[in-house]
Amino acid sequence: METTITSTAFAEFAATAEAIMNPAIEEWRNNGGKVVGYFCSHVPTEVLTAAGLLPFRMRGTGSTGTELSDAFYSSINCSFPRHTFNQALKGEYDFLDGLLCISSCDHIRRVYDNWKQNLNTPFVKIMSLPKKVGDPQVEWYREEINLLRGELEQHFGVQITDERLRAAIKLHNETRRLQRQLYDLRKGKHPAITGAETLAVMVAGSAMPAERYNALLRSLLDDLSRSNGTREYRARLMIVGSELDDPEYVEIIEEQGGLVVTDSICYGTRTMWVDVDEQAADPVEALARYYIQERPSCPRMNGDQPRRAQFLRNLIDTFQVDGVIGERMLFCDFWCTEHYMNRLDFKEVGIPFIQLDREYILSGKGQLRTRIQAFLETMGK
């Protein structure tokens, strides 16, 4: 599928997704701003923003090998931390003033261990993320966020007042609202933006200051309102899976004629479908409740699969999805189990489903093409 968008805002998003460093970060740093890298969409980035820090979501973009990081990982570790840590060892992340890990999975925990031992980033912290979605876990996470707040205040010499937290929540909610508007443009018969393009826009959202991003996204939405949209495609697909940050992967799917119209991935609906409560008396509790209970959940949360399945069914209806691609990085046990259940769920309602295992960096393109093409053919598309 050809990129049809002529938009300077989109060009900036695409360039941002294609690299780790970008002009917006450079400008931020030249003005004395500090940058904190973070892993996983469960990190409450609003707290970083409230501290005057720029949150940057960690990825291994541009990596071609793991020769430096392999020594620090075992054969059961997935390729995402391997490539990302390899980029760090090469010096690609020397610009970070801090790194925030979280116990989202064992592979990410190993990034924390290895980072602390081998790199000199001034502030390195790991947060503890509960495994369930009940009220006691919200309380636990509220305390975690307050601990983070205190440590950031101390290390960076800033004050994170409730007022600043509320302002950050508002700003990030505005990002979510704009991203949902972008997804609205994909619901109709002629989606104004492809799945690959959307992914670039979503990835860029975690790599530049929110004010700048929101302004660019508003301008992109304006440009897209004049677009005729994609007219020729064989089927409407949804991608369900994990940390997918490479638009080219989606491009290969779309080249076969399968237009990706929505998703449940870490750079997609799960990060923006719901807003954080702006009216709550305690903004920290609002954040805890959002990240544990309210946002669409991730398979690393135990006991919440029925709610996730319902979320996917709603997306299928809302975006008129014909078939689902279950993407999984090799060695990810959460997504292995989740896709097993997804397969059964989708079979019950007659939605075609295919599971694709992948490495973090795009490889085996030929086989990927064959699988997607055959999937579309079996759908009769």
Binding site: D357, S363, G364, G366, Q367, T370, R371, Q373, A374, E377, T378, G380
Partner: protein
């Protein structure tokens, strides 16, 4: 009306020409490093065999296989999964499970009673359980592919080869040789290792009779017998060379295209 199917695989190129619902010519040629050349070469040979003068005598041509995007004269390309299923079902409409074992891929397709693909699985990137695997083993054993295939060479006490990786399996085979295990038992071990792998792929889509083998490795009789033993099901023989099933399917899809318009 003549139509053609061209299946450019990793190891061989196949071309089939169909006229009024019957195969009038088919040929198999070794793949070159240039898929376009492989396609041209296979199709030129098939045309000659069919007594046709030029590619223009074919109303519609469908490309398939690894090099399907590089078949210069194809009107469209269709995945080898759909083509092998279509070809095998046309050759024997009782087929419900198709196992395609090619040079560097193996795939299993589950079909409904109308021949529609319900589900499929495909091996991962490595060459385990494919032609490349057998070639590597034949080289180590010095017995040639015929030696691995020959029913006379299937020892009664198959050696255990647990590794599915061609490289690791090779070192296992070397160990067996050095332990003095008899050649037929090693060969039986190799075939049953691949049969085990196919068995688990078949179980993913579910086994429904009849089961047919297609692709180049379907000619490995030792493998077919090992798979039958593992599945406790007889492999259904196709009335044509099973290696051309993909090209047959491609030609049939072309035939449909012309008839629908």
């Amino acid at each position: 009306m003549f139509v053609g199917g061209c299946d450019v695989g990793s190891t061989t190129g196949k071309a089939v020409i169909i006229h009024e619902a019957s195969i009038v010519a088919h040929c198999i040629t070794p793949s070159t490093t240039n898929p376009e050349k492989t396609a041209r070469f296979a199709m030129a040979e098939a045309l000659r065999m069919a007594g046709l003068n030029s590619i223009d005598d074919l109303r519609y041509i469908v490309g398939t296989g690894y090099g399907r995007l590089k078949v210069p004269f194809a009107h469209e390309n269709v995945s080898e999964i759909t083509c092998h299923a279509r070809g095998a079902y046309w050759l024997n409409p009782a087929v419900r499970t198709v196992v395609d074992i090619g040079g560097q891929d193996c795939k299993v397709m589950a079909l409904d009673k109308n021949g529609k693909v319900l589900e499929f699985v495909m091996n991962d990137r490595c060459a385990a359980g494919t032609g490349r695997f057998f070639e590597a083993m034949a080289l180590v054993l010095g017995c040639g592919l015929e030696g691995i295939s020959s029913p006379a060479n299937q020892g009664a006490n198959a050696a255990t080869i647990s590794s599915q990786c061609s490289v690791f399996a090779e070192s296992e085979v070397v160990t067996l040789i050095n332990e003095g295990v008899e050649l037929p038992n090693i060969i039986a071990g190799i075939n049953s290792a691949v049969a085990n792998r196919l068995f688990s792929m078949i179980r993913r889509v579910g086994l429904t009779k009849e089961l047919a083998l297609t692709g180049g490795c379907s000619k490995n009789e030792g493998l077919a017998r090992a798979l039958e033993k593992k599945l406790d099901v007889k492999v259904t023989l196709l009335p044509q060379d099973p290696q051309i099933a993909g090209a047959v399917g491609a030609a049939l899809i072309g035939f449909d295209k012309v008839n629908h318009h």
